[in-house]
Amino acid sequence: MEAIFQPHSVAVYGASRDPSKLGHVLLRNLLEGGFGGQVTAVNPGLGTVLGLPTVPRLSAPADLALVSVPAPAAEAAIADAARAGCRAAIVLASGFGETGPEGKAAEQRLAAIARGAGMRLVGPNCMGVVSRLDGGWLNGSYFWRLPELAGGVSMVSQSGAFGGMFFAEARRRQLGVARFLSVGNCADVTEADALEWLAGDPVTTVVGVFAEAFSDGRRFVEAANRCPQPVVVLKAGKGAAGARAAASHTGSLAGSHGAVRAALRRAGAVEAQTSIEFFDALQALAAQPPAPPSLAILTISGGPSVLAADAAERVGLALPAPAEATVRRLRELTPSFAATGNPIDLTPQCPISSFGPAVQAVFDDAAFGGVVVINCGLDAAAFGEAVAAAHRRTGKPVIAFCLEVPAVEAALARAGIPLLPGPERAVTAFAALVGR
């Protein structure tokens, strides 16, 4: 698995001169991504591609073979990589198990050749790998746009196209990425294998998993359960009842999702219901520590904070009342009409000099495991600075919803506090921090 995420040498099968061919795109991505190791272009009957001399077959092993040839030619490419002693291969080509029994048989032959040579095989029918290496990116994928930031977020996806969503969201949300692997048809390497490797990856701080079906369900549950980093799962295809006899009530009640929920409960994974929740959870977990299931909703904007409180109740988060001492302190510092329950509303009329000590009193209250900050319309920079300072000092997790308050947003962003575009989304993302 190491060779998939951290190869020192890569061979590209199907490296083409034609820029419209995927094999050309793959080689160009690899070269432009800044991969520092040895690259070999494999293609019979060509001189050079993108300045690299091509070879008809490998004469020396590469750590990783990327195979972008039409399906019928994939077997010969895998046989060559196996013969040469490559440690891993990724078959990006489509036209295998997803097409029917014949494709399934062809895919099993690829896996058998790889297994016989002790070579791991990813795919077929996948988008490849993206991985941060010292000084650059390994881009062994068809994605031409790399993440802008290196960081701790890793992603395992059955779907290749969902990888496109992942990279786009990572850029939009300024998430730092560590690894991406699209596992496709899982002829050999499954989500469970990828997760087991990522669990030992010192760079990865949170793992996202997108799956339509788990090819090795129980092992995935074990892997997620043992994974020291939080795991967020988005499972597509919840509707269909699958191939059940359904002669019983239990069978007709199950849908296909009952077992998935049971599995994710045991896995200790965060289950996202939508792609928005999925990326919100990754954004929260990438920046904030685990949280106990109790929070303060802290605001200077009344209405939206009540929506946040409703959301907290829906997702099972407790909104405890502040301690008596906290209430007394807030009464001293804020206008008489400030709300000192939970949500805590310091109100727009709160004196600027009071924001610091009032926010500090809330963060210091042991009743709260973390804070969701809501700030709409009134850009009180002192409020933002106070939250940032209290977060840094106490280490308590914070998620924020801000609207048209650039100074506050800047102060929170500098402190690494995730900003989400809605009060309910901020609370749901906080719930992801609670996890297991």
């Binding site: 019983s248 069978g251 009952g258 409960r265």
Partner: protein, 208 residues
Amino acid sequence: MSEGRGISVLSEWESKVLLGDVPRPAEVLTRTKEEAVAFACELGRPVVAKASGMAHKSERGAVRLDADVAAVWEELAAMGDGTVLVAEMVRGELELIAGGLRDPQFGPVTSLGLGGIAAEVLGDVVFLLAPRLPGELERAIEELRCAPLLRGYRGRPPVDLAELGRILDAIGSLLERDPDVVEVDCNPIAVCEGRLLVLDALVVRRPG
């Protein structure tokens, strides 16, 4: 008793025998009217009489509550497979459903929820991987909308979770030891003063 699609649905009695040690009311599968009358007399409490070996017994009028066993035995025997199941009549304060199935991705799973018509209308059911781990049943129950009912409401005793766990374990262990069992229902399970009694059961097998 069998259905199409290459699966067979076992009778209530066969299903309960396969499940083994689950709490049941006093009951016996009778092969003669005399046997049935003798059981009812000895019990000395109201009984329910059910035709054996047919699906959808209630809908087809094959379940008689507070039955005069002597009067209905022959009719019920003729509706089913020639035997009649006679059981102590039990009225619980609550009905639950427990079940199990073999999931294509995660293997044997068990389920638990509110029984009777509520099971179908509300779909208030949670699933657990089998065999279950300590603490999982308690966490799963918290996901049920009917969780407050199970904890005891309006002074009722709470549902005996250890007993509930044993029923789920019996279902899970049947799925694990017999690869041809595809689905299991224990429906309804009557809750009587917190104690549980499996009133009806159904095991679906594919031909082994």
